[in-house]
């Protein structure tokens, strides 16, 4: 019951953040909503691990959160200076 409520609310918040990614007036809104979407995806994978009891999914959640952080930092640096690394 609780896990069903969690899945539905995470899906609704993903749809709202996707609306902000598609609609966002500036690139800052899109990068912010993209960062939120990666976090939402990692939390969804953890909730799937809770639902099924399949603990190797937690490794996937860790990799997703690391990749989300790195891609957000790379996007912010690229949009600030026009390059990611010198």
């Amino acid at each position: 019951m609780v896990i069903d409520i969690a899945v539905v609310s995470l899906a609704i918040s993903g749809v709202l953040a996707t609306y902000r990614v598609l609609r966002g007036p500036t690139w800052g809104d899109r990068v912010t909503a993209f960062d939120y979407l990666t976090v939402n995806l990692a939390v969804m994978v953890v909730v799937a691990a809770l639902r099924t009891g399949f603990t190797p999914l937690l490794d996937a959640a860790l990799i997703i959160s690391i990749l989300g952080f790195l891609s957000t930092v790379a996007l912010a640096r690229y949009l600030l200076r026009g390059r990611v690394m010198r």
Binding site: V2, A6, Y36, V39, V43, L50, G53
Partner: protein, 157 residues
């Protein structure tokens, strides 16, 4: 229609109703079709997961409803940190007998370190690139003098 056929139909209907009632009673006596989840039997973990989902949903609503980049960052970093750590703490409690707890705590620690950092990076690049912000009538920009310095020092870094 004769009286006998009506009687037969009534008997058949009564038999069908009895069969249906017996079937539903048997279905209610057995377990419902639902797989067990790791959250069953951990009320503290259920409360933590529900709180985390409420905070994540509030962050998404703020992401849609707030007027500019900086207020949307305010919604999408603080609330997301709280909600994600709540869900990860609930998962750590629910996974406690099996081997899931150290990994969930590792994810929570990494997340707690990196979520404010990515929010800071987005806010810094947005401010230095001069994205417009929402100004109400009569508001004062305290950072206006610092903004020109930041823009002039952008070429050095």
């Amino acid at each position: 229609m004769t009286g006998r056929s009506v009687l037969r139909a009534a008997r058949f209907g009564a038999g069908a109703l009895g069969w249906l009632a017996a079937g539903t009673a048997q279905a209610a006596a057995t377990e419902p079709l639902r797989a067990p989840s790791a959250l069953d039997g951990h009320p503290l973990a259920q409360v933590l997961v529900l709180l985390g989902c409420v905070f994540l949903l509030a962050a998404a609503v703020g992401l849609v409803r707030f007027p500019d980049v900086y207020t949307r960052l305010h919604a999408a970093t603080k609330l997301v940190t709280l909600g994600g750590v709540g869900i990860f703490a609930g998962a750590a409690i629910a996974f406690h007998p099996v081997d899931g707890t150290p990994r969930v705590l590792l994810i929570a620690a990494f997340f707690f370190l990196t979520a404010p950092l990515s929010g800071y990076m987005i806010a810094r690049s947005a401010y230095l690139r001069g994205l417009p912000w929402h100004q109400e009538a009569g508001s004062v920009d305290d950072w206006q003098a610092l903004g020109s310095e930041a823009e002039s020092s952008l070429e050095e870094r």
